[in-house]
Subunit: 266 residues, 2 copies
């Protein structure tokens, strides 16, 4: 049953307060480390995920839309006007519904690698939108897990969750510990071919690499600088996507998607 | 030589005035139909393109950066303070430089198709960012031209130009005239295999389609509804990208990039 809220100061709405500031960077001091889902698609995915939902806040129409998904959920659904929601949250919510959840711990990296056949390994992906897009592509193209190396943003930041269409809540991820080549050695010990994606002309093309049927770890660097030399040198293979002359490299999420598709269909 | 401007009302800056409003939609009444390039990367690409540059406006540092590119250019470069630029343009420009150009006419579609081996055909891509990303991917992956069907946004809108990294200025494009199946018949008469990208399970996979070495037209629909039935039925082939179960389709620009890469390396 929905709980109707008419007072914007109601403490039950504290999870949702001032999202533009306090919760902007849950990984930073002042953030609360909550997972925030926006919109019915993402909220539905949150409910279906392993993350424990704390509370939902939405306009009546969104409650009605989500009602079939709420039957097994213990978390309260607060219904309020769009106006009251905007005052609490700090901006007008086009999507009309929010949910919060606590973070969860995934299994340690080594254990995670035992359960998947492909993994994306990111280095320096500090842009929340690129990170969200990489998760969306990984989920769609069947990549089993994402490992986050140095300089990566928090995938559970609100904007990443939104851009990923909530798929960051589906694809397991873990931090990459130790410096190169240690992570590559761990991946190799688990049977992965460590494959660095790079625009370098000396790299073999994705097609020549023959990744079909292998367990593959795809290393992706940040747009601009790309992978560090240490990462490139730790890889078993350096592969490139053939590009037209004179054009900048692709967006990191797009390049990753092309590699993921090659692994999936290879 | 740079021309120093100190009066924000100087009529020589009229091309750059109130970009957030008047020039927001050059395809709409009140817009001036100019091409606007922002930032050194995109401005450099504009200068190298077929579009006739009208004027440039930037801070001194950007003029110095671009000086080597300006030698054959007759258009004036106005140098102003960041503050004056913000007052003229209507917002603070992170990128510090703008250029305007007139639009140009490309050859008619039939003639354009004689000069390329691959083409992206878009239907209902009304989102300027998706459109810009599609051009960026087309340029990087060697797609020869883009054809714009019904419901497509203007690729020369400022945001599309920016998201494309200026590649909309490099890849020829044309409108698609007539309704299906006429455009497909034109494409076939020019030797193209008309290939519709769709998530339908009945479609063959991109890999099974065996597009290697063929002249291919890739039909891409809008996110959400996808291609119209008329477009799907007009195609020679319906192809899909294999997806993990339970996940929404990919972003249209990303799906397109996977198809473009398949054609390029196939």
């Amino acid at each position: 049953m929905p709980i109707h809220i008419t007072d914007p100061a109601d403490p039950r709405l504290d999870d949702f307060r001032d999202l533009t500031t306090a919760d902007r960077r849950p990984d930073r001091p002042g953030g609360r480390g909550l997972v925030i889902a926006e919109g019915t698609v993402v909220v539905r995915r949150l409910i279906a995920s392993a993350y424990p939902v704390r509370a939902l806040l939405g306009v009546r129409g969104r409650f009605d839309e989500l009602a079939p998904d709420l039957s097994d959920l213990e978390a309260p659904f607060y219904v309020a006007s769009a106006d009251l929601m905007a005052r609490v949250v700090g901006f007008h919510l086009n999507r009309g519904v929010l949910a919060t959840a606590d973070r969860i711990a995934f299994p340690p990296t080594a254990q995670l690698l035992d359960s998947v056949r492909s993994v994306a390994v990111l280095e320096g992906v500090g842009d929340h939108e690129n990170l969200g897009s990489i998760f969306r592509n990984a989920a769609a193209l069947g990549i089993g897990a994402v490992l986050l190396g140095e300089g990566c943003a928090d995938p559970l930041y609100r904007r990443s969750v939104r851009v990923s269409m909530g798929t960051v809540l589906l694809v397991p991820f873990a931090g990459l510990s130790g410096s190169w080549p240690a992570p590559a050695e761990l991946l190799r010990s688990k049977g992965f071919t460590v494959t660095a994606l790079t625009p370098k002309p000396s790299a073999v093309t994705l097609r020549q690499a023959g990744l079909a049927g292998r367990k593959v770890a795809v290393l992706l660097g940040s747009e601009g600088p790309g992978l560090t030399d240490a990462a490139l040198e730790s890889a078993d293979l350096q592969v490139r996507i053939p590009m037209a002359p004179g054009v900048d490299s692709l967006n990191v999420a797009t390049a990753g998607a092309i590699a993921f598709a090659e692994i999936a269909t290879g």
